[in-house]
């Protein structure tokens, strides 16, 4: 429901224009702010697809090449997190504004400059868990979809957790591809991966206790790890 309503705001340009003007009106006291907003909107239009009123995958790709970041780079995902983008591969105007305003960037070069700061922000422990769960939800493209398949989960894991927990992620991906019990990963299991990486000594796993409330998939993983080690 929410997703469709945002799509509506994206497609109905008139509504957008009026809301934009009301924003203008409210922030009329600060000319600089309104100027910034204008430039943000302007930048949006540069990438947006005229008919849908959204930045579609194509637009994102050209945006990526402009900021000189690969579109599969984790930083794009971080940007999407900052925008609170709902739908994979698309940015609505509202999301675009939210993200860019927060970054205080209204041009390609400013966005480029803001990226390292964004990385720092995301990797702060207080934000990372939110970003991490966002990454999972961002991958749920179908309505009522609650799980993502192992293949995508592995890629995502590599993307969002790889730079912090390389050895764990490598092993986990190896295991996920090896096992046949699970074909999909749900949010609960996904979140537990992060918790696992944060809390469990690796590779000794000596503080892992299968009597605690770890999901079964991690019990199996640990068992597999012990088997591999011995």
């Amino acid at each position: 429901m929410r997703r469709s309503s945002t799509r509506k705001t994206g497609s109905a340009e008139k509504v957008n224009a009026s809301s934009g003007s009301s924003d203008l009106f409210r922030s009329a006291t600060s000319k600089a702010v309104s100027k910034e907003l204008e430039r943000i909107d302007h930048l949006f239009q540069a990438y947006a697809d005229g008919s849908s009123g959204m930045i579609d995958p194509e637009g994102i790709e050209s945006f990526c090449s402009d900021v000189e970041v690969d579109h599969t780079d984790v930083r794009i995902l971080m940007l999407a997190w900052k925008m609170k983008a709902e739908k994979q591969g698309y940015f609505t105007l509202e999301e675009w504004r939210r993200g860019l305003k927060a970054l205080r960037a209204d041009s390609v070069s400013k966005i480029k400059k803001a990226l390292p700061e964004l990385v720092k922000e995301v990797t702060r422990p207080s934000n990372f868990s939110d970003f991490y769960s966002y990454a999972f939800r961002y991958c749920l493209t179908e309505d009522k979809q609650k799980c993502i398949d192992i293949e995508s989960a592995c890629e995502l894991l590599d993307l969002v957790l790889g730079f912090q927990f390389r050895p764990q992620v490598n092993k986990l991906i190896e295991y996920l591809k090896y096992q046949h019990d699970y074909k999909v990963i749900n949010l609960d299991q996904w979140m537990s991966f992060l918790r696992f990486c944060n809390e469990i000594n690796f590779p000794s796993l000596d503080n892992y206790d299968s009597n605690l409330a770890w999901p079964l998939i991690l019990d199996n993983f640990v068992e597999w790890m012990h088997g591999v080690q011995s």
């Binding site: 749900n186 609960d188 918790r195 409330a213 770890w214 079964l216």
Partner: protein, 675 residues
């Protein structure tokens, strides 16, 4: 003299005189030779006592006044003390007395008869001199000597006797010692001397006795040696760890034999025999415990836990126990009195109690009961009901509600059929008679099956019934379960002999085809009846390949049915019986794939039960750690099955996914209930 303040003089005079006198006596006792020694001692002791009595009487005044005020020992006691010091503790007598006593006891132990009266007097004397004298001068060495005697003897016995004989000897020794105490020792010695015998003869050899080759506890159990077992129980009971030793050996023996029994592939072929063996084993050991082990509760528990252990080692036990009941209720209980039926069923219930997977039993029981009811094979309705009542008291209403539903269906079906024929009275000429059992979906273990094509004659009656039934019960749906029915058909063979064939619905469909044809190919039959291939093959096999029941002839003649076989009406069929029952070739025991399927169904059925238990628990507790949930779920479901912790974990995860529960943000162990 006391009055004249000569008390002191009198008293010391008494001491010297008596001492001198006793030294004389000592000499005369010492002089006594051999056996006369004790007699002399005894006689002198008697004299001394008498003398002492008189002296006390004479000196009574001194005893009353002088002695207490001067804190002297009273005369009588003084006399005893002097006797002790001068006679008993006299250097020459002390050891000799002890040796003589011990020697006599030893002689008695080895079978000689001794003068018990004399012994009693002497020990009495020692007691009179004070219990410390008795203990120091006799009892302690006596116990020491006894210990070494029995240690030696038990060593000797254990080398040359088997367990039963050894126990007999030990028992006899123990009784002898108790008798000895009652005859000539102080009563307080009994506990001490028996504990010496117990320690030397039993405690020290317990392990060896129990494990003795060819005659140990295991052999006694196997051979039902009630007397030996009872003796062992009574003797071992006296020593610490004794009973637990017996119990442990019995338990491991039970587990071992039980394990062998349930894992022997030979035994798995015949489920009825399998269960019968279990029951026999239980009976045998129940009897041992009641006869030989004093109905000891701890032994009963050990027996129960052993059975529980090994019955559940074999995951087919629930199926087999149900098959056993099936067998009994089908035919095994014919001509047996009601009480005996109860006994058998009670025994089965006892095995049932050991089962961890009671839900699996329920599944099979339902299947078997359905077959019994539908084929009208059950021997006694009362027995059926009694079994269900037992299950109900054991596991509650839920467990049996469906089983009871099946009975209700059978009853209502009868009424319905009566109503049906009453209403159709005029129209049913000599057409086939139909008996319909209307089964409630859900109560019966029905498998959805494609209905086969019924012969036109039958179809007509079926339609009439459908119209009648739906007329009286609007809003219901009827589907025909042709795979569960039976039919009686009359057939005339070659020489004009008539037989009544009792067949299944499928077989009936096939046979009816031969009313209009003599030869039919497999394909033709399959097309005409639309019976599922596997069932059709089985059904044709039973019609054409079983000797004495081959109402059809098959070409080529072989045991198995092939797609291109042809079938003929066998007009050469003969049978001694007018009524011929043609059973379908069915495996009574489940085949591997069937077993697998049942297993899966059971697992599926368990999921909601486990989830319900988790939700119930979490609803009342709100927050709970993982281990506690697992424990509580296990206890809640124990009466039906033993849930696997991994499965419980899976269910928890599923509930988290469906947002009934969540993990606690901070504490790894905890789950929270989401209302």
């Amino acid at each position: 003299m006391v009055l004249h303040k000569y008390g002191e003089k009198l008293y010391s005079g008494l001491v010297t005189t008596m001492t001198w006198h006793l030294k004389e006596i000592a000499k005369s006792i010492e002089a006594a030779q051999g056996g006369l020694f004790l007699e002399e001692l005894n006689r002198k002791w008697g004299d001394h006592n008498k003398a002492l009595q008189m002296i006390r009487d004479i000196l009574m005044y001194m005893d009353r006044t002088f002695v207490p005020s001067n804190r002297k020992t009273p005369v009588h006691e003084l006399g005893l003390n002097l006797w002790r010091d001068n006679i008993i503790h006299s250097h020459k007598i002390q050891t000799r007395l002890l040796d003589t006593l011990l020697d006599l006891i030893h002689r008695e132990r080895t079978g000689e008869v001794i003068n018990r009266g004399l012994m009693r007097n002497i020990t009495k004397m020692l007691m009179d001199l004070g219990s410390s004298v008795y203990q120091e001068d006799f009892e302690r060495p006596f116990l020491e000597v006894s210990a070494s005697f029995y240690s030696g003897e038990s060593q000797q016995f254990i080398e040359c006797c088997d367990c039963g004989d050894y126990l007999k000897k030990a028992e006899r020794r123990l009784n002898e010692e108790m008798e000895r105490v009652s005859h000539y020792l102080d009563a307080k010695s009994e506990a001490k001397i028996t504990s010496v015998v117990e320690k030397e003869m039993i405690a020290n050899h317990m392990q060896r006795l129990v494990h003795m080759e060819n005659s140990g506890l295991v052999n006694m159990l196997v051979d039902d040696k009630y007397e030996d077992l009872s003796r062992m129980y009574n003797l071992f009971r006296r020593v610490p760890e004794g009973l637990s030793t017996i119990r442990d050996v019995m338990t491991s023996h039970l587990r071992e034999t039980g394990k062998q029994l349930v894992s022997d592939p030979e035994r798995l072929r015949d489920p009825v025999d399998f269960v019968q063996r279990l029951l026999d084993m239980k009976d045998k050991h129940d009897k041992i415990i009641s006869i030989a082990f004093n109905n000891d509760k701890t032994f009963q528990n050990a027996l129960n836990s052993s059975f529980e252990y090994f019955i559940n080692l074999n995951n087919r036990s629930p199926e087999f126990i149900s098959l056993y009941v099936d067998d009994k209720l089908r035919k095994g209980l014919k001509g047996v009195t009601e009480e005996d039926v109860e006994v058998v069923l009670d025994k089965v219930m006892m095995l049932f109690r050991y089962l961890q997977e009671k839900d699996v039993f329920e599944k099979y029981y339902k299947q078997h009961l359905a077959k019994r009811l539908l084929s009208g094979k059950t021997v006694s309705d009362d027995a059926e009901r009694s079994m269900i009542v037992k299950l109900k008291t054991e596991c509650g209403y839920q467990f049996t509600s469906k089983l009871e539903g099946m009975f209700t269906d059978m009853r209502t079906s009868q009424d319905t059929m009566q109503g049906f024929y009453a209403s159709q009275y005029s129209e049913t000429g000599d057409g086939p008679t139909l008996a319909v059992q209307v089964l409630t979906t859900g109560s019966w273990p029905t498998q959805p099956s494609a209905p086969c094509n019924l012969p036109a004659e039958i179809l007509g009656v079926c339609e009439k019934f459908r119209a009648y039934y739906l007329g009286t019960h609007t809003g219901r749906r009827l589907t025909w379960q042709t795979n569960m029915g039976t039919a009686d058909i009359k057939a005339t063979f070659g020489k004009g002999q008539k037989h009544e064939l009792n067949v299944s619905t499928y077989q009936m469909c096939v046979l009816m085809l031969f009313n209009s044809a003599d030869r039919l190919s497999y394909k033709e039959i399959e097309q005409a009846t639309e019976i599922p291939a596997a069932d059709l093959k089985r059904c044709l096999q039973s019609l054409a390949c079983v000797k004495g029941k081959n109402v059809l002839r098959k070409e080529p003649m072989s045991k198995d049915i092939a797609e291109d076989d042809a079938f003929y009406f066998n007009d050469k069929f003969t049978s001694k019986f007018i009524k011929v029952k043609i059973g379908t070739v069915v495996a009574q025991k489940e085949s591997e794939p069937e077993k697998h399927e049942t297993r899966q169904r059971v697992e599926e059925d368990r999921k909601p039960q486990i989830e319900a238990a988790i939700v119930r628990i979490m609803k009342s507790r709100r927050v709970l750690d993982h281990n506690s949930i697992v424990t509580e779920v296990t206890t809640q479901l124990q009466s039906r099955f033993l849930p696997n912790p991994v499965v419980i974990k899976k269910r928890i995860e599923s509930l988290i996914e469906r947002e009934f529960l969540e993990r606690d943000k901070a504490d790894r162990k905890l789950y929270r209930y989401l209302a």
